[in-house]
């Protein structure tokens, strides 16, 4: 099966590009999949911003994930829901894109990306420029048929090491092949930054379960991620080492720093703020 525009593509239709700086569109989360993580919602926002950026430079360059100033994790989404996507570009040229963006479900925000900066790289190294042009034309007209995404293959990190309640460590061996690598990207497969964030959030959830509960007696949940920086491309088959470390805890919030390494090289960093789970 050709996985291009299927295995890791999360924009069904582009409904408006205003002045080349504001783009809007939507994505229907397939009803038949098990789940759709907040990281994939962030990926969808990044992808709609990427379409605006590529169109702005006539598909000579495309953005890749780099820096995210903040991610507000407002609420989770379910299969079958439709994401309304929008992104505002603060700037784009052949060296970088700067943007912020939001995903909403039925008028309510579910996730917001703030102050994102991504390097622009030559499209030809990563994808077929003509295929991207044709896809952009399709998305901007009738839109793509929804439902192509069949869900994520499980990526299981193995926990080991750390200090209970203070830090946790995990190792993830990336597969050499996976459908998402064929879409991200066809000519040069790269482990998506959003999936790295997903691993970070899973590790922090594991640490959160070990931290003494907040003062309301409930659970810690990730509310916001700040200062995400992805320092290098991660090819298929690599081994990633994660460490999440509690740096601060108060009555109603906790701060966890997460580092991702490939060998000795620091590949990703982020800070995740935990808050108290709201009671219904």
């Amino acid at each position: 099966m050709d996985h291009h525009f299927r295995a890791f593509s999360f924009v069904d239709r582009i409904t408006a590009i205003e002045g080349g700086r504001r783009i809007r569109g939507h994505y229907a989360i397939p009803a038949g999949i098990d789940s759709f993580s907040p990281s994939l919602v962030g990926e969808a926002i990044g992808q709609i911003a990427a379409w605006a950026a590529m169109a702005a430079v006539d598909f000579t360059h495309r953005p890749v994930a780099g820096i995210v100033g903040g991610i507000d994790l407002t609420s989770t989404v379910r299969p079958g829901q439709r994401l309304e996507l929008s992104a505002d570009l603060d700037g784009v040229d052949t060296s970088a894109i700067a943007y912020s963006g939001t995903a909403q479900v039925e008028g309510s925000p579910v996730l917001r990306l703030e102050r994102c900066v991504g390097p622009m790289v030559p499209v030809e190294e990563f994808d077929d420029p003509q295929a991207l042009r044709e896809r952009f034309a399709l998305l901007s007209a009738a839109g793509a048929a929804p439902g192509a995404f069949g869900g994520m293959c499980p990526l299981i990190a193995h926990r080991g090491g750390g200090e209970p309640g203070r830090s946790v460590r995990a190792t993830l061996e990336l597969p050499a092949t996976a459908s998402f690598f064929s879409d991200h990207f066809p000519r040069r497969p790269v482990f998506p930054g959003s999936l790295l964030v997903d691993q970070n959030l899973q590790l922090v959830a594991a640490l959160a379960a070990e931290i003494p509960p907040p003062d309301n007696g409930g659970r810690w949940v990730a509310r916001r991620l700040t200062g995400l920086k992805l320092r290098s491309f991660i090819p298929p088959g690599e081994t990633l080492e994660f460490e999440a470390r509690l740096v601060e805890r108060s009555a109603g919030s906790a701060t966890v720093k997460v580092e991702t390494r490939r060998g000795t090289r620091l590949t990703g960093t982020a800070t995740i703020l935990l808050g108290m789970e709201a009671y219904p």
């Binding site: 820096i67 060296s95 970088a96 102050r115 900066v117 390097p119 200062g227 920086k229 320092r231 290098s232």
Partner: protein
């Protein structure tokens, strides 16, 4: 754009805010961001960090910094072929770079030098000068925003 008339007082006026901005981007203590610190060799910066720093400086000083153009600026009036040959700086290119990056200690310039190695020379003061040049180009005073 030249460095003409950027003096030590101009740089000193911006230095604390530039150092703080660089420290925030690199996640290090601002006290470690010395004026002559090489961002790559001394502070461990990578290419994504330069992008981060430039965008943070743009926000902090309300200027537009042309990304990826610092090497082009360093070239000045020299053509590309006068500045470098096969990715290696020509003698004229080396002389021009030393003049442009006058804040960088002379012993850090190699000869021969690859153009790709130029960012290794960038110091905290290099970014101060970058902001001042853009402030002046925009008609500003070259003072902190």
């Amino acid at each position: 754009m030249s460095n003409a008339n950027i003096n030590k007082e101009d740089i000193a006026a911006l230095l604390p805010k530039v150092a703080e901005t660089i420290a925030d981007a690199l996640g290090c203590d601002a006290a470690n961001v010395k004026p002559d610190a090489s961002l790559i060799n001394d502070l461990g910066a990578e290419s994504i960090d330069f992008l981060d720093i430039v965008f943070r400086l743009e926000r902090a000083f309300k200027v537009k910094i042309p990304r990826g153009k610092i090497v082009e600026e360093a070239r000045g009036s020299l053509s590309e072929s006068e500045f470098e040959n096969g990715g290696v700086l020509t003698p004229a290119g080396e002389a021009r770079l030393k003049e442009f990056l006058s804040e960088v200690p002379p012993d850090r310039f190699k000869s021969p030098m690859k153009a790709a190695e130029i960012p290794r020379l960038f110091t905290t003061e290099t970014f101060c000068k970058m902001v001042i040049r853009q402030q002046r180009a925009a008609g500003g005073s070259g003072q902190p925003a």
